[in-house]
Amino acid sequence: MRRFQERDEVDFVVVGSGAAGGVIAKELATAGFSVVVLEQGPWRRNEDFGHDELGTWILGELGPPPERFPQTFRRDEGEEAQVQNTPPPLIYAQGVGGSSVHFTANFWRLRPVDFQERSLLGPISGTGFADWPITYEELEPYYTKVDWEIGVSGVPGPFDPPRSRPYPVPPLPVKSSGVLLERGAERLGWHAQPAPMAILSEPYDGRAGCIHCGFCMAYGCEAGAKSSTLVTSIPRAVASGNCEVRPESTVLRVETNREGRCTGVVYVDTAGTEHRQGARAVVLSANGAETPRLLLLSESSLFPQGLANSSGKVGKYLMCNGQSAAVGIFPDRLNEHKSVQVTRIIHDFYETDPRRGFYGGGGMDGRFTFGPLLFALWGTFPGDPSWGPEYKRFLHQTYTRTMEVAGHTTSLAMESNSISLDPEVRDHWGRPALRMTYRDYPDDLAAMRFFTDRGVELLEAAGAHRVAGLPVEGTSLTAHLLGTCRMGDDPENSVVDRYHRAHDVPNLFICDGSSMVTSGRGQPTMTIQALAFRAADHMVEAARRGEI
């Protein structure tokens, strides 16, 4: 790997190596620009990943250690935020590849309607519901680029948006949960389709296909079949000879000069030693929580509200996607602990239907969240014994016979839902802790309840002999960190322009989940990566024109 000296001014410094940062680094480096990527976490190899449920889920070994990096949560500005570490409200992985390493790998595209829903439906009171400044058609070539460069398994379904090229790899083999989802959907007149997944069903592009070990969600992939940037973009960026990835490097602030331009970033290594990396342009892809924190921490006399924040919108409009769940037990074995989480999805209720009485829609999938430990800890039905002979019999009879129908739904953008700097709690490096403020809009809760009910119907239609819909509660934690530096044409109402350049700072680019204007219907990573490819194209053009 090429090494740069800190005294060198590189063309681009990229903060974050995840779904967006990994893609952007690769695109810039292979276009011939010098790039330094700074990543908070370690550089793990495939062989570092395993099947340790306690370590991964209970101890959170892929995330930031909560005792050193606490987070706080409150419902609204009227509440004092409380430390919430069990679990933290904002869930992400640290390490080269970022959260693309541990995500479940559901990989849905948005549809044309997601970009223009505000125009189609009109305003919604008390929200910042807005159109994107770009359309699906503008993003489609980049979705296709993600399919082929990252590696996506799938086949088009009945409601899919137009695509310019087929999937590069066929869908993963169907599991029993997928067969049952199809069976239930058919009986109800709905349409199940193979799930698009960023997991290879067969060898592709020098990587192995899935070995169906069953440890995808929250785990890294020891086979390298999950298409994280750790095994796709980052190796290519490094192989270009133009990119250095520095793991265990936490950026503390973006530096600016008197002209209001970025000059580089200050970061700290694991020993606590501060370093500075100069750059002609800075790219923030640190995720929808860390990116706004970094901007708010980079205040100066020229940028008293935080960098790129003349609009006051940095950190605002946080969207998490709603979640719902129904659980069913079947007479025969599903063995859902094997293979990928999801093999079939249903998109019949994707769009808003005014007859339902609320804004929003979503998708459903058949899956099983639990490994053996989590199932034994929390898999019993509400009201059932959690200890004793009956509990043991439940575990014995149902572990291999249970599935879940998960709903993934819209979240409306609200200015009051945000990432901000906690005024009291500080982290290991002395930075104000991430503070999440979040209260679901009533329509978002209605959508979750609607999907819970559909899940119950589906499981019953599929032949489950015992079914429960989980109660819908307000969102208090999320792995979807969306909307906090939203894209827009109006500098008074958005943070970045349609090309991901900060309205206020000409050589600062921001691209990750924070760029999203609407939430889509869950599964945002595909869109984040398409945005990253598109943003990188414009960065390359701008740099070649001498405009960074």
Partner: protein
């Protein structure tokens, strides 16, 4: 940081089921070394529990996941040794709440919990299900039965047998009865 409460865990379990975006962080790091398992096999003394506490914890584990002629339980899994090692290395802040629960459990049974018949033990547990630390003690037993064996519990795959599932490093389709 505050001790996790039963309410937190109940809420966490509901979130857990909701589509799976939960990484449950608990406030300790590190892994329980294989030496805990070796200690159990050698019959070494506990690291955290006193002999009395160990007896109470072992009796509690036998009632949470009882052994029967067909299937092992928490005892065969070595859950009590896992719990002792976990309090030493992973969750030291759970030690006092767990001790307080074990004390209350002993005090709640005439003649002592660990010396009672199983019916009386079940009665004593039922009386303390709302104890603020019951869930911690239950979690220790369950973790000690179903965690990956390298953490020191789940000896000889006792937990896998309870779940009636084969756990292999990799699989090939068909995976279940419905996708054959």
């Amino acid at each position: 940081m505050p001790d996790p409460t039963r309410r937190d865990f109940v809420r966490s379990s509901a979130d857990m089921l909701k589509g799976g975006w939960l990484l449950l962080h608990l406030p300790a790091l590190g892994t329980l070394a294989a030496c805990s398992r070796e200690a159990a096999e050698r019959g070494d003394a506990f690291q955290v529990f006193t002999p009395d506490e160990g007896r109470t914890m072992a009796a509690l584990a036998r009632r949470i996941l009882p052994s029967d002629p067909e299937l092992p339980g928490a005892e065969e899994a070595g859950a009590v040794y896992f719990a002792d090692g976990a309090l030493a290395r992973l969750f030291p802040e759970w030690t006092e709440p767990t001790r307080s629960f074990l004390r209350d459990l002993e005090a709640g049974s005439p003649g002592g919990f660990s010396r009672s018949f199983t019916e009386a033990q079940d009665e004593a547990i039922r009386a303390l299900e709302d104890h603020p630390s019951f869930e911690l003690a239950r979690m220790l037993v369950v973790m000690g039965t179903f965690s990956d064996p390298h953490h020191g519990g789940n000896r000889e795959g006792a937990g896998w047998r309870i779940l009636d599932a084969e756990f292999l490093p990799a699989y090939a389709p068909p995976f279940g009865d419905y996708d054959r």
